[in-house]
Symmetry: C2
Subunit: 429 residues, 2 copies
């Protein structure tokens, strides 16, 4: 088919009429489909049901060091959970705190602590006139929601397939002491599925921030979330790189089992330098006596070790890989060669990033919604929900059953074509 | 036996010599006992082991409204957990948020939120020159730790068997806009086991604070933690009373199942007005996608309803009642009539409050420690760890096995006598 951008006005109008007819057919189907959030599907949850049998009333609920996990204690987590999640994060157990069920909560608390108490003796951020964060974008909307909630000014840094624009990052952090952090999803990024290149990671580790209390918020949410056994991306370990570069305290690394076991009932963790850990524990001891150790134990008993977890991830991949492939195939079949959009082909993580012609994303998402398919709000992948090009859309293929997903993806592609047509017609007129 | 205070110097010295000999015997026993924290004992944890069987891989993990508890969602908790904990707290389910495993964490977050964002549109506390809290004392050390951590000035309000000195509370809150809160453990208080009288509760509900954003932090940790079936204290429901008094938004009420099921793995909750809930949810949605719903479901499936929970509490009482009675008997046998100390005889909760002669508490705790019995630090029951009389000691009888507990209580009583003797001798000389 001819590129839309090369069509005459008449051709565009003809095409638009055909698309409108097709759209009406979808509308009459009363669809109710959701491609908005990175939620595992039922089949994915089912593969972790064995975890519900990992503990029962007949087993000893003591952990390795003899602590009764049912009672108070062990602020930073049980030893064997630190080993398991340490292996998952590629960090030493001593560098890890195991938290509750939500790494988002850990990130929020990390920002909140810096606001009220500062970092390692630094001025509390709430006492400063201005605090800024760098936000590689498109990025994760819930990261941006945290910094927005705390009134932190967010500066967009463009994402590339190798990671954030590091020239810009280096330049900004070295000059501006008000820049206190940067949000990163370094592997199979949300929403594009990009993995930072080795060079990007090294440049992060070697940053020379003006602010002593600058921290990299390294949300490695998809560290072991590969879609393929034979094609996996590799990410250098940031704590080790920072240490080598003489910046041992510059990074907070977050992860959880939310997309490994149950999103509502996993365990979250933070890995960082011993100095940072000490700083954090001085706060944490006032906040709680400890997190849910029984659930930590449940996870360890279920997986045994990192190999158990790796095998488990293959089951996830087997379920969601066909979904990614189905969406990508439909996008290729429907939009390939039309010049109306580009999309990523990630080999891990939870999302496909889509870029429409400029100025079309909001209209596409609105059109899809009108026909019963919910996408993440256009703009959500940028700070303040403001996508300067109005072109980025996050596609989350994991949750719907594959047949519904195909329908949703078909409709989405149709909406892209419709809105693109309308834009080009308007430009002709 | 003669009152120590009525003994001559010689009599005191004779008595002291006898006590020292006895103390040496204890020292030679190499004891290692702990009466310091309000921890349930193993037998108490064992009665909740059935909860580990409440869910398994064959049961449906959906809650009443059809939500799959394994997945993301339901920020404020599953409906049936709100009903169960609503019944426990005597509040409507609509007024409740179910949190993670720690009510202390909820209290901390409540203060933290007020610091950074204020309450219902009020100035964030971190922007104010001075923020003060009233601290009925003796009170709970972890409450005081939170306010101390946030640099909130703590004002001691004396506790009475009817609750805090309400003349003082009314006077202070009506005059001083910097007073933003008060810590309360209204039922079977920590550490004295006192329950606020009806009048105290009514006076709380009718407070006219100068600060619009003044809140009562009502930590009803021991609401259903009776020691006796036939003797139970009654506490008017504070939310209802505040509403009646025209102060519907003045209270945050906290509770958890930490001392009902497992301290490490219970569920916590907050009950408050709909206005407050809206304010809180506006923050909470940035902090987490939701708490552990599977554990909420586990609790509901285990207890079924409030009657199940009430029956369960009788089992706890049967285990810990003899421990309270043993300690009280020993105190009576060893110290009765000596005029060297007074103690409470609570019929619920987790603690016995002990008051020594002025200036003796630290020395008593140190003596006990030297012979292998750990008590809560003297002073811990007061803000900044400063007991003005150096006389209050918290006794936590639940954790040790009853025989060890008796030994510990004997030793404690001996240390009280020893230190009191020494004090009186010094006064004579």
């Amino acid at each position: 088919m001819k590129k839309y951008t090369e069509m005459t006005l008449e051709e565009l109008k003809d095409e638009h009429a055909v698309l409108e007819d097709e759209y009406k057919k979808y509308q009459s189907m009363n669809l109710k489909l959701d491609m908005s959030r990175g939620k595992p599907c039922r089949e994915q949850l089912d593969i972790s049901m064995g975890m519900m049998d990992a503990l029962n009333s007949h087993v000893d609920l003591s952990c390795e060091d003899g602590t009764d996990c049912r009672n108070y204690g062990l602020l930073s987590g049980i030893p064997e959970a630190k080993v398991l999640l340490g292996d998952m994060m590629e960090n030493h157990p001593d560098n890890i705190i195991i938290y509750g069920n939500s790494s988002l909560n850990v990130m929020y608390d990390t920002v909140a602590r810096a606001m009220t108490h500062g970092i390692m003796g630094g001025t509390p951020w709430c006492k400063l006139d201005k605090v800024k964060f760098l936000c590689p974008s498109p990025g994760y909307d819930r990261h941006f929601a945290i910094t927005e909630y705390f009134g932190i000014e967010m500066i967009v840094v463009p994402m590339t397939p190798e990671g954030p624009d590091m020239d810009m990052v280096e330049d900004l952090v070295s000059k501006d002491e008000a820049i206190k952090g940067i949000w990163c999803v370094p592997k199979y990024s949300n929403p594009q599925g990009y993995t930072y290149s080795d060079e990007t990671v090294m440049r992060f580790a070697r940053l020379q921030p003006a602010a002593k209390d600058f921290r990299i918020f390294w949300d490695n949410a998809y560290g072991i979330h590969h879609l393929y056994e034979d094609r996996q991306e590799y990410l250098p370990e940031i704590l080790a790189e920072c240490k080598k570069a003489g910046n041992p305290d510059m990074v907070y690394k977050f992860a959880s089992t939310s997309k490994i076991t149950f999103p509502g009932s996993g365990i979250a963790c933070l890995a960082t330098s011993l100095n940072n850990l000490e700083d954090i524990k001085n706060q944490l001891k006032n906040q709680t006596i400890g997190h849910d150790k029984v659930n930590q134990l449940r996870h360890v008993r279920f997986f045994k070790d990192i190999h158990g977890m790796t095998e488990h991830m293959k089951k996830h991949a087997a379920i969601i890989r066909p979904k990614f492939e189905a969406v990508e195939q439909i996008l290729e079949d429907e939009l390939g060669g039309l010049g109306v959009g580009e999309w990523t082909k990630p080999i891990g993580g939870y999302f496909i990033g889509f870029d429409s012609l400029p100025g079309c994303a909001k209209a596409i998402v609105a059109r899809a919604k009108k026909a019963g398919v919910v996408m993440t709000d256009a703009g959500a992948t940028y700070p303040y929900h403001k996508d300067p090009n109005d072109s980025n859309i996050r596609i989350a293929p994991t949750f719907p059953p594959v047949e519904s997903l195909k329908t949703a993806a078909q409709l989405f592609a149709l909406c892209v074509k419709l809105v693109s047509c309308e834009k080009l017609i308007a430009e002709h007129e």
